[in-house]
């Protein structure tokens, strides 16, 4: 496969960009692999990439029921940050942040990672105490961040409303300068291309319908494109993890909920950073194309429909308009939903499943895009070696039995 560079760009310009090679192959599934990854979202593709790159496992297939990146990976608001409260999560998300910082070069694919900073707003005294505590914890973990005043926020974001007379006045914020956004599709495509380069088979339109076992060990999967055998199966299916767990015969502490986002018509540059608010539950950034990218809260009920409720949109848009009155006349272009897999402690579940050779990576809920490279990196280690990496060991499923929950609810600013 050709390397993307200024020279390949010039060469392809000669033929009017008609002859670019496909970025990854679309092979027929083989009968047997050394490992199968179920789910072609960013996390599944990153897992396959790092298994090939770091662990030398190249006879791998990624099985995706639809198209790669068509799940939450291609539906999220792309916020990346690592300012989580507890050590376990801070270390995991910061590992991911470090990978983001070199990802475009590593993949030879521009994932448009833009470290434009992330503000997490506080609207009450308790919000501000929590923010101070979180920023201090972050700094002890070597994660950048500081607390800013309403005046400092206003200086950086001229259109924000810091009027103290409104219902939820902005009393301050945490700011993580290394946070930002990345292009979600490019992340899926870049990892797919990178994995394919090592020989990983990426198989789309291939739905796993059952997990085959013999004597308590995984032997393969049944799919819409036939039986595929493998002694190792890594499941990375986000909102569908309870469905896959049921196929394998165990239960998950997970509820799947719809989470929605919307984008406006493209407008001239107006917001060059990311603003998130837990209390009023809205978050917004502006894409390079110019549209405002706005995320809502989850719908309260369990749901597998990839759409969100009207009351959810109304709630979010009113919050955004209170933060940015100038946006009140911007028209919204598109709205969609994803299915997020929420856990009781708002932390992912990464590790060995109760069946030998079966591994699960899920529970990222409303905030796993930022973790894509780090999640793939630790899970690749876990699937390849059969043992968790130190970074994902605390996130094992059995923490719900031992009671060692990692309570990031609220602690992590907003949940995205």
């Amino acid at each position: 496969m050709s390397k993307y560079s200024i020279f390949s760009l010039a060469r392809n310009a000669m033929s009017y960009h008609q002859n670019w090679a496909a970025a990854w192959r679309s092979p027929e599934p083989k009968q047997k692999y050394d490992a199968i990854i179920v789910g072609g979202g960013g996390h599944g593709l990153a897992t396959a990439y790092y298994m090939a790159k770091e662990h030398g496992m190249k006879n791998i297939a990624v099985l995706e029921k639809g198209w790669i990146g068509g799940g939450n990976t291609g539906r999220n608001t792309t916020i990346v940050r690592s300012n989580y409260l507890w050590d376990e999560s801070a270390h995991l998300y910061e590992k991911s942040m470090k990978l983001w910082e070199g990802l475009s070069q590593d993949l030879n694919y521009n994932v448009m990672f833009s470290q434009r900073g992330v503000y997490n707003l506080g609207h009450t005294l308790q919000d501000m105490r929590d923010i101070q505590r979180r920023v201090n914890a972050n700094r002890l973990n070597g994660i950048d961040g500081h607390v800013v005043t309403p005046q400092e926020i206003k200086a950086a974001i001229p259109h924000i409303n810091i009027d103290q007379g409104c219902r939820y006045p902005i009393m301050g914020a945490s700011f993580q300068p290394r946070g930002g956004v990345a292009r979600h599709d490019a992340v899926a495509w870049g990892f797919a291309r990178g994995a394919d380069k090592y020989g990983v088979d990426i198989i789309q339109n291939c739905e796993v319908t059952s997990i085959l076992q013999e004597n308590g060990a995984v032997t393969g999967v049944e799919t819409s494109r036939g039986k595929i055998m493998s002694p190792k199966v890594g499941v990375v299916v986000a909102g569908h993890c309870s469905v896959l767990a049921e196929m394998a015969g165990f239960r998950m502490p997970i509820e799947s909920h719809p989470l929605q986002a919307l984008v406006s018509e493209p407008i001239k540059p107006i917001l060059d950073t990311v603003v998130m608010s837990n209390a009023v539950h809205g978050y917004v950034s502006q894409s390079d194309k110019g549209d405002l990218v706005i995320g809502a809260g989850i719908d309260s009920y369990n749901g597998y429909g990839q759409r969100g409720s009207f009351s959810g949109i109304e709630h979010t848009v009113s919050a955004i308009v209170e933060l940015f009155p100038i946006f009140s006349r911007v028209r919204m272009n598109r709205q969609w939903g994803g299915i997020v897999d929420t856990t009781p402690d708002a932390c992912p579940i990464i590790g060995n499943a109760p069946v030998k050779g079966l591994y699960f990576n899920c529970g990222w809920g409303t905030g796993g895009f930022k973790a894509t490279p780090g999640s793939g990196w630790v899970f690749a280690h876990n699937v390849a070696t059969g043992q968790p990496h130190d970074l994902n060991r605390p996130f094992a499923l059995d923490r719900f039995v031992t009671g060692h929950l990692i309570d990031e609810h609220g602690a992590a600013g907003v949940a995205h």
Partner: protein, 93 residues
């Protein structure tokens, strides 16, 4: 927007209700004898099905009573609602 039928008040807008998760989870009786794994199953593990789901709702901005609903988690269609302690329609047949 969902139109939800409270068994006491009748059909009301979704925004009057709050969701209270999977229904028919009985608290174990002899809690002193439960293992950690049994506690985990009761406290945390959920069916989370793709399809028919029996769940609890609270008519928060109405009569403030809990009730159960059978709802499809893909189409979101509510098949029936019934009072706590009652059996869902399909079990009655």
């Amino acid at each position: 927007m969902l139109l939800i039928e409270c068994p006491w008040c009748g059909k009301r807008d979704e925004s009057e209700f709050s969701y209270a998760g999977e229904a028919h989870i009985a608290r174990p009786l002899e809690t002193g004898k439960l293992s950690d794994a049994e506690w985990a199953d009761y406290l945390f593990m959920r069916k989370n099905p793709k399809g028919a789901h029996r769940e609890q709702w609270l008519h928060a901005a109405g009569c403030r009573r809990y009730f159960n609903a059978e709802r499809d988690t893909v189409s979101y269609q509510i098949k029936s609602t019934y009072k706590i302690g009652e059996t869902p329609s399909e079990d009655r047949a």
